[in-house]
């Protein structure tokens, strides 16, 4: 359960037996394919989830950056993001373990919708905990969860976002641990979650590595992926970690600034790997955004899915080791990248994903050499972000924004 100095199981005693049970199940079913678990997972993630996802060349970005830019298309997974890889894996595992009920937290709602879909598909009752603020600002995702038959429980604590939702789901788990499995949404939390979620997401790099060899005739020079909790990041990196020639870039949300307001307990970014330091949160020792006393700080990003004060312990370790390079991209650059990918390539990326493309652009503008062939992980699609993007784009008066006056004109053609 350790990645260097990170990881572990910092949870209430009541949960420890459940973690031991989960660890046992993880080893038997996931690692050893007992009862053909992994075969069933692979069949379902293919036939239900839509895998494999393509690795496609981005013609106009390649031209723009004078490199070969390839896109790993997790936005095409059922539900619109890589999230289903993990949710389906865990719900299936819960079924193999004989659990009768699924709970999960969600921030922007992507993990919640993926879990609700997986639970419906596998006929498991499902409850999602979601901060009240997020419930109100992510209505379409709440609708989707409800329509898939999941209960949505608003969490009226603190700022009412992801951090509070995780804490509350942990509490609920400790109340009902014997018959309930908690489907954690990223490579965070106590062991075995970080390793297990990584293994379910590792299908991304497993496919991408094979596809690169088949389509490009070899490995890429770099893989770029956005990082919040880090599940798409670890998924996209895992099978490349031992390929030393492949540079790995984890792009964090720089938000509006990398400075923090210690007084207010607020970091105007989610750049945990780049600016945080070691601590214990949500069951694991990892890198955190915290004040000098060790209180957790609120993070901020225009992208709700990156808006988290912690990060997966394995990613923290890989950064410490120098294997993964953490970089940051601010809100405005991410918004510009959102519009750039949409008009250049006909792919509307999630705001999370837009950070990865923002880095690609900034690196090129700064004359940094990412190498001849770069794979960017398109972790999710941006339909969910349309309203936010339009609002934030207008607020900033970005040039790249499309004119939306079509709604205002009353006249003829």
């Amino acid at each position: 359960g350790q990645f260097g100095r990170y990881g572990g199981q910092y949870v209430p005693e009541a949960l420890m037996p459940a973690l031991e049970e989960l660890e046992d199940a993880y080893e038997r079913y996931v690692l050893e394919n007992e009862d053909g678990f992994m075969d069933e997972f692979e069949r379902r993630i293919r036939n239900f989830g839509g895998r494999p996802t393509p690795l496609g060349r981005a013609d106009r970005l390649s031209e723009r950056y004078d490199s070969e830019i390839y896109l790993k298309r997790e936005d095409l997974v059922h539900g619109g993001a890589h999230k289903l890889n993990n949710a389906l894996g865990q719900v299936l595992l819960a079924k193999y373990m004989g659990k009768e009920r699924i709970i999960a937290e969600t921030g922007a709602g992507q993990h919640g919708t993926a879990t609700a879909m997986a639970a419906a598909h596998l006929d498991m009752p499902c409850e999602i905990y979601m901060g009240r603020t997020d419930v109100n600002r992510q209505r379409p995702n709440v609708f989707r969860m409800r329509i898939n038959g999941a209960e949505v429980n608003p969490v009226d604590i603190g700022r009412g976002t992801l951090k509070e939702a995780i804490s509350e789901t942990m509490r609920e788990w400790s109340r009902t641990v014997e018959r309930t499995h908690y489907v954690i949404g990223s490579v965070v939390g106590p062991h075995p979650f970080p390793a297990m979620v990584r293994d379910f997401q590792a299908v991304i790099s497993e496919e991408a590595r094979e596809q690169a060899r088949a389509q490009l005739g070899g490995l890429p020079d770099a893989v770029v992926s956005c990082a919040g909790g880090g599940s798409n990041t670890m998924g996209a990196f895992h099978h490349f970690v031992s390929d030393e020639s492949v540079d790995l870039y984890a792009v964090e949300a720089g938000g509006s600034s990398l400075e923090v307001d210690e007084e207010a307990g607020v970091a105007p970014n989610s750049a945990t790997l780049s600016t945080g330091d070691e601590g214990i949160l949500h069951g694991a020792r990892t890198t955190l955004l915290q004040d000098s006393h060790g209180q957790i700080m609120e993070s901020h990003s225009v992208s709700a899915g990156l808006d988290y004060s912690g990060v997966g312990p394995e990613l923290a370790h890989l950064v410490d080791e120098g294997r993964v390079t953490p970089v940051t991209v601010g809100d405005t650059a991410a918004l510009e990248a959102f519009h750039r990918l949409s008009t250049d390539e006909g792919i509307i990326p999630a705001l999370e994903t837009s950070h990865a493309f923002g880095y690609l652009h900034e690196a090129f503008e700064a004359g940094e050499d990412l190498g001849e062939t770069v794979i960017v992980n398109v972790s999710g699609r941006g339909d969910k972000d349309l309203e936010t993007v339009i609002e934030e784009t207008e607020k900033r008066g970005l040039e790249s924004a499309p004119d939306m006056s079509v709604f205002e004109t009353g006249g003829g053609i």
């Binding site: 572990g8 199981q9 910092y10 949870v11 209430p12 005693e13 009541a14 420890m16 037996p17 459940a18 031991e20 604590i157 603190g158 951090k163 804490s167 942990m170 509490r171 400790s174 109340r175 009902t176 641990v177 014997e178 307990g265 601590g279 214990i280 949160l281 949500h282 069951g283 955190l288 915290q290 000098s292 006393h293 060790g294 209180q295 957790i296």
Partner: protein, 274 residues
């Protein structure tokens, strides 16, 4: 600390330090001592109280908003004028981050200086407790572990090796919070721990003197009460009552709980093996 349990039916109240202000909180803790507390758990508030229910979450939020920090907490302990053992209950990150040490040593050292006698750390299971246990040994403090209804077999053994002071028996699954029923799980848990040569204090959901009595009668060496007391603090805060009035209510509640615990302890049969 073991002397706290000497009379049987020990009463162990919990309050979040600094809720709703430093000064009021001092009054409240002292009122609990006057009310018959045998040992007091002082909560150092953490921003992510993962094991707490809504009541204690509220206390934590109020205390943090009123400016509570680890240093202020230690100052608070120094300022306290009470004559019972004091235990710090907090989450591991605050212990880990404190002071210059890479690990919990600085925090424990400072705790010892101000006269704290032990720790309860809800997010630190025995497996991860090595460094804190070492520091506690170095400075002569106790490390209390929580035994949950789900704790069995190997896990119990591991915990028994590392626990000191007393063991916190979690009466039922779930987060903290006052309840009206007394869980059946309590009796089972106490039975599993029957062999342990260490005081067993039961917490989670104890609300009235009658609860306290039943729990003590079931074999607990002490009862831990948090949410029922925090409720009184919260009410006083919301209704804008004078600090003294709230302190009086706390003292009264403490008397009720202590009396209940004592009655329960008296109903206990003599232990079969001395």
């Amino acid at each position: 600390m073991a002397t706290a349990f000497d009379g049987g039916g020990a009463f162990i109240p919990y309050l979040a330090v600094g809720d709703p202000s430093y000064e009021a909180s001092l009054e409240y803790v002292e009122a609990l001592a006057r009310g018959g507390a045998d040992l007091i758990e002082l909560g150092l508030p953490f921003s992510e109280p993962m094991a707490e229910g809504p009541t204690i979450q509220g206390a934590v939020t109020r205390a943090l908003e009123a400016g509570m920090t680890p240093d202020r907490f230690f100052e608070f302990v120094s300022d306290l004028d009470v004559d019972v053992p004091l235990v710090c209950m907090t989450y591991y990150n605050l212990i880990y981050q404190y002071g210059p040490s890479d690990g919990p040593r600085s925090f424990v050292e400072r705790a010892a200086q101000v006269g704290l006698e032990g720790f309860v750390v809800p997010d630190l299971p025995a497996e991860e407790a090595g460094p804190l246990r070492e520091a506690c040994d170095e400075f002569g403090l106790d490390l209390v572990f929580i035994v949950a209804p789900t704790t069995r077999g190997d896990r119990l053994e591991r915990m028994m090796e590392r626990v000191s002071g007393y063991v916190y028996v979690q009466a039922r699954l779930g987060a903290t919070g006052a309840r009206d029923d007394v869980s059946d799980q309590t009796g089972e848990s106490l039975e599993r721990l029957a062999d342990w040569e260490i005081p067993k204090a039961v917490g989670f959901g104890i609300k009235t003197g009658e609860h306290a009595e039943r729990i003590a009668a079931a074999g607990a060496d002490g009862i831990i009460v948090g949410s029922a007391l925090v409720d009184i603090v919260a009410e006083g805060h919301e209704d804008d009552r004078p600090v003294e009035e709230t302190a009086d209510r706390l003292e009264e509640k403490a008397r009720e709980l202590k009396a209940g615990a004592r009655r329960g302890a008296e109903r206990l049969p003599e232990p079969e093996h001395p």
